[in-house]
């Protein structure tokens, strides 16, 4: 199968709004229902954990990911069911990560988490043979926070520009600029190109 032909990304139509079941789960979780809370964590653990790992290392990333869920579903009285829940969770997680980084006076461009080593990438040989994924990963981690997160949310999580703008609390034009600039930087990690200005 030609992987390049599958990249039209038809799913990128924006996140779905919070459904009725989800609203019920959230309300139950806020009342202390552990099963409802566990269900919500199950639904969103992967993207929230991945985001925290882009900012922080191993156990600290996990700690902040846990804190995200506890704060989000216990301390917030009302959740706007007209808005998608994932960008909101991302915003909570990102702010917690940034708080942690500020407190520790770390630079935002931290090394990739050791946990990423245990991840299981689905590699397409046709492209993997041409692109050094490790080199790309290093270049990706070296990007400034804005372009890195915009690219991650766009390519890894399939989010629409508007949802990324909401999540990162910036105008949509900034998101587009970050994606464009981030990609331009990353293209330097691709093999056999001269990368001259067009």
């Amino acid at each position: 199968m030609d992987l390049l032909a599958t990249l039209s990304l038809p799913f990128r139509t924006g996140m779905t709004h919070t459904d009725t079941i989800e609203t019920t789960l959230i309300q139950a979780a806020q009342g202390g229902d552990e099963k409802a809370f566990a269900e919500l964590v199950k639904r969103y653990q992967r993207p929230v954990y991945a985001l925290c790992n882009r900012y922080l290392r191993g156990s600290e990333a996990e700690d902040v990911a846990q804190e995200t869920f506890v704060k989000a579903f216990l301390h917030v009285r009302e959740i706007d069911s007209a808005r998608p829940i994932l960008p909101w969770l991302y915003t909570v997680a990102r702010n917690l990560c940034l708080d942690r980084l500020r407190r520790r006076k770390f630079e935002a461009n931290v090394e990739p988490s050791p946990n990423t080593a245990s991840a299981e990438p689905s590699v397409d040989d046709a492209v993997a043979g041409r692109i050094d994924l490790e080199r790309l990963k290093t270049a990706f981690a070296a990007l400034p926070e804005g372009p890195r997160e915009a690219l991650a949310l766009f390519h890894l999580e399939g989010m629409a520009y508007q949802d990324i703008a909401t999540t990162l609390e910036v105008p949509i034009g900034t998101v587009m600029t970050w994606i464009f600039r981030g990609r331009k930087e990353l293209k330097k990690a691709l093999p056999g190109r001269h990368h001259e200005e067009r």
């Binding site: 990249l7 566990a38 846990q66 990706f140 990609r183």
Partner: protein
């Protein structure tokens, strides 16, 4: 990217925004685009590069949560929920106690006039203390941040103290 000579059918390069939009599937390739891409090796190469980058980004390893992540997060949630319930009960209990004491003293002051202004001041102190604890209870549930509660609590305490000192000064003057 190397600049290749353009044929007559491809007078201008497709701009970078257009190529990116095509690579991401956000815009549909027009006949004009197709004609240009057939004739222009530079743009074709650039589009291929954009698509390769998209493919590589999707394949980049992503950190996955450990198997016990849900269980550990739920434990933490349960502990936090219990702690919040206990804090709420303690604050509500303290508030009720203070209100009760204030009412009792207020009643005693009316029934036993000999108690005079001292009882009035103590009663007022307890009433204001109860109001302070009640306010903190509400604040703690709305603003979970301890720092915010402490700051607001400190302000309320200062205001209460000032009010009490004024009353005490008046009572002493009498």
């Amino acid at each position: 990217m190397s600049d290749k000579p353009m044929s007559n059918t491809a007078p201008h390069h497709l701009d970078e925004d257009r190529l990116l939009a095509l690579a991401l599937g956000m815009e549909v390739e027009t006949e004009e685009d197709s004609a240009h891409l057939r004739a222009c090796l530079s743009c074709r190469d650039e589009l291929l590069q954009e698509r390769e980058l998209s493919a590589a980004l999707v394949m980049m390893p992503v950190a996955t949560p450990p198997p016990d992540f849900v269980a550990r997060t739920t434990e933490r949630f349960a502990a936090e929920h219990r702690a919040r319930s206990v804090r709420g009960l303690l604050l509500a209990g303290a508030s009720t106690l203070l209100v009760g004491l204030a009412l009792a003293l207020s009643l005693a002051w009316r029934l036993i006039p000999q108690l005079g202004d001292t009882a009035s001041v103590v009663s007022a102190a307890l009433t204001q203390g109860a109001a302070l604890v009640s306010t903190l209870t509400v604040l703690a549930s709305v603003f979970p941040s301890l720092a915010a509660c402490v700051a607001i609590g400190a302000l309320l305490t200062m205001a209460t103290s000032a009010s009490l000192l004024t009353r005490l000064a008046r009572a002493t003057a009498k």
